[in-house]
């Protein structure tokens, strides 16, 4: 793999979004940051994104709604959720519709990297 993996990070909390972005960049990912659901949909569907890392709760279109919209347009989209609400019905619904796991906030950065790596491997395997 010559080019870096491109990750779209959605979180309305700027600190979290930037923290995630910095760690991903330090680990060799290429990151695009968005802070609301609509921007996430247009960024993901605009192409040049390999994976999504979406927060759930936020004003306006939330992370799950954005996820469902993207899934509707791109059934093979790879998106991981981040939320403090593991038993949230939003989350349950998203997982039922093909979200690739949930990172329960607060999570250790290593957990996030490990999950991203798993998804990456799975995607590679399915492509190959």
């Amino acid at each position: 793999m010559t080019r870096p993996i491109r990750v779209l990070v959605l979180d309305d909390n700027v600190d979290v979004a930037q923290g995630v972005a910095e760690i991903l960049e330090l680990s060799g990912y290429q990151v695009t940051l968005v802070h609301d659901g609509l921007s996430a949909v247009s960024a993901y569907c605009g192409g040049s994104v390999d994976m999504g890392l979406f927060d759930v709760r936020m004003p306006g279109m939330n992370g799950v709604e954005a996820f469902l919209e993207i899934k509707r347009r791109q059934p093979d989209a790879s998106i991981i959720l981040m939320s403090g609400y593991a038993d949230d019905e939003l989350v349950t619904n998203a997982l039922a519709h093909g979200a690739l796991g949930l990172l329960s906030k607060p999570f250790e950065p290593d957990e996030m990297l490990a999950r991203l790596h798993e998804v990456q491997q799975a995607t590679l395997a399915s492509v190959a």
Binding site: V16, F107, E108
Partner: protein, 639 residues
């Protein structure tokens, strides 16, 4: 629904916090009002509960986010710290590598210079022997190629030395103007060959004497001016010195301005990079290591200055060398020319291009100036503008060579009143032989650099002084034919006045005893031949030990000592010779180190071990001769 039902319903709702439930309104009018009221309260409670939950969710979300971002931040910090440690160690490794690179370069250049010494020295000796023209051509090719190679090696060595910070400037009082004048003089033959004008403009009012590393300053300016001449095919090269004084320090600006090929804008920033040359495409018309400008920039930085380049493609370039030097308060004594120009009348003949700068240079001296476009118009101007039809001095300024002015001068001299007026011929580009032609044409003084205002003034003063001396007055020029006055004769006079004994010529009547200590037969032979040409009796020693024993019962006027030798090296030998208690009949003369190691630190090591001077190998004949002669003349003075 009776009262009991209603009560049960209420307690159930309360226990389960099921505020979204409502109690069915009973038929019984006694209860229907209160149930409706309770349902309305429930609906309010439901709203409040929902709001509360949302608030709580937001709070939890914010807490989760804060915790998450803390974890992320901590990780980012750790990661960055780890990377900076990595970078530090990488930096250290790079520094170590760079230092070992300089060491390698130093060692390598030492290794190369030693055999180069053999090649160049032998070729030089071969050149002095009987050769047929073809052989002479071949030998001179060897010499030229060898010197070119030596230049490259020296450049690389110099660069690595300066870059690694392993050299220090050597500040001494010096005459900046003379230093720049020497450069112009050195480049004049090359410029002349390309029909270029080359001139020095030394700011009037700018002091001449500063404390600085004259050798390094000369190196920078020589490099820039040499490039200017090299890359200019028509027009001129000008060296301009200006500056401002501040508290005993001068901020100097030396500009080298040419009308040459110029440098494309996008390459202007790169010219100071190592190994870059503008003319990289096609034929390599201009040779060099490409290190010159990088070295200059490093040197300028060391002198609290820098070098800027400005250029217009096809129109020319300007390199500005700025530096800060302390002004030297007590300059060395020079020839005092106190002849005043005040009240004198000076006629300038030449096209306005040339006479105007001269007029400007003369303005502050209160002399009358008559300017004419050519000498043939001088008689008319003199009769119109002077009372007696004569002037004190005439200056011809021209690009033309003296033989073209021959006729004009002869015509002018025909009038009796004009026969004795001293004429100075100032040309912008002199060639060897011009001075002689000028003398034969009947001029009294010849100046090869018309645009050097100070030399110009000095020349006029000197000529006025000479012509006002009683023995010169009235003597017919044709009979006495005093020697032509040139810049050099003035400089020589100045040197005589300063009375420096170390310039005394080597006595022919005395033979000097010189000892060569070197483990290399080749070096011994080269030095021996050079010395024999200098009227010396030469003895040889193969190492320090032999030198110590041969000096036990013999005195030498001079000892040339190699530094690195088997058995006993030059430093030990020098120390042993110098500390010897039972000296032979008379003390040993100076010891000069011969070494292929050209670092300043080596020089220091030589001097601290008791040696007097230092010759780096391979020695070039001129350098060798001048150092040896310098020390032998001190011996002659002591004897």
């Amino acid at each position: 629904m009776n009262r009991t039902d209603i009560e049960r319903e209420i307690s159930e709702i309360s226990a389960r916090k099921a505020y979204d439930r409502r109690i069915p309104v009973p038929e019984d009018t006694a209860y229907c009002g209160i149930v409706r009221a309770i349902n309305s309260l429930l609906s309010e409670a439901e709203n409040h509960d929902k709001l509360l939950r949302e608030r709580l969710d937001d709070l939890v979300d914010a807490r989760d986010d804060a915790q998450t971002s803390n974890l992320l931040l901590k990780r980012v910090k750790d990661e960055l710290r780890a990377r900076s440690v990595q970078l530090d160690s990488a930096l250290q490794k790079a520094a170590a590598a760079s230092s070992s690179k300089s060491m390698f370069l130093a060692n390598m250049s030492h290794e190369i210079r030693t055999p180069m010494n053999g090649i160049l020295g032998m070729a030089e000796l071969l050149n002095r022997s009987e050769l047929n023209p073809k052989q002479r051509q071949q030998v001179s090719t060897i010499v030229h190629s060898g010197r070119a190679l030596l230049t490259i090696i020296n450049d690389i060595l110099d660069f690595s030395k300066i870059e690694s910070g392993r050299y220090e400037l050597d500040p001494m009082p010096f005459d900046l103007k003379m230093c720049l004048g020497d450069i112009v003089e050195l480049l004049t033959p090359t410029a002349k060959r390309k029909s270029l004008q080359i001139a020095l403009e030394y700011g009037s009012g700018l002091p001449r004497h500063f404390v600085g590393d004259a050798g390094r300053i000369r190196q920078v300016v020589m490099n820039l001016a040499g490039n200017a001449v090299k890359f200019t095919d028509a027009g001129s090269v000008k060296i301009r010195a200006s500056g401002s004084l501040d508290n005993g320090n001068a901020e100097l600006l030396i500009e080298i301005i040419d009308t040459g090929i110029g440098i494309p804008e996008e390459q202007l920033a790169d010219v100071f990079e190592k190994f870059s040359q503008v003319d990289q495409t096609g034929t390599r018309r201009h040779e060099g290591t490409g290190l010159g400008l990088s070295i200059c920039q490093l040197l300028a930085n060391r002198m609290s200055g820098s070098i800027f380049a400005e250029s217009k493609l096809g129109q020319g370039s300007k390199f500005s060398f700025s530096l800060v030097l302390p002004v030297h308060e007590k300059p060395m004594s020079a020839l005092e020319l106190n002849t005043s120009l005040e009240g004198r009348t000076i006629l300038l003949a030449g096209t306005p291009d040339f006479t105007e700068p001269a007029q400007i240079a003369l303005t502050e001296y209160n002399c009358a100036i008559i300017a004419v476009p050519s000498l043939s118009l001088a008689p008319q101007a003199l009769s119109e503008q002077t009372s007696n039809g004569s002037v004190d001095v005439i200056v011809l300024i021209s690009v033309a060579t003296p033989d073209l002015l021959d006729h004009d001068i002869a015509e002018f001299r025909k009038t009796a009143a004009h026969a004795e007026i001293p004429i100075i011929m100032a040309v912008t580009n002199g060639t060897p032989g011009d001075a002689k032609t000028a003398s034969q044409a009947g001029v009294q003084a010849y100046l090869s650099c018309a645009f050097d205002a100070a030399a110009f003034l000095q020349m006029i003063r000197f000529v006025l002084q000479a012509s006002s001396r009683p023995d010169a007055q009235g003597a017919p020029a044709q009979l006495s034919a005093p020697p032509l006055i040139t810049r050099h004769s003035i400089a020589e006079l100045a040197a005589l006045k300063t009375d420096r004994p170390d310039n005394a010529p080597l006595g022919v009547e005395r033979r000097y005893k010189v000892l060569i200590v070197d483990d290399s037969m080749v070096n011994q032979e080269i030095a021996k031949e050079f010395l024999e040409d200098l009227n010396c009796d030469v003895s040889l020693a193969n190492n320090g030990q032999e030198a110590v024993s041969v000096t036990a019962d013999q005195s030498f006027d001079l000892i040339l000592m190699d530094c690195q030798m088997p058995v006993m090296d030059g430093f030990q030998a020098t120390a042993a010779i110098r500390s010897r208690r039972t000296a032979p009949t008379s003390p040993q003369g100076p010891i000069i180190a011969l070494t292929a190691n050209a670092f300043a630190s080596d020089r220091e090591k030589c001097l601290t071990s008791g040696m007097s001077d230092f010759l780096s190998k391979p020695f070039l004949p001129n350098e060798f001769d001048s150092v040896v002669q310098k020390w032998l003349s001190t011996q002659a003075a002591a004897a």
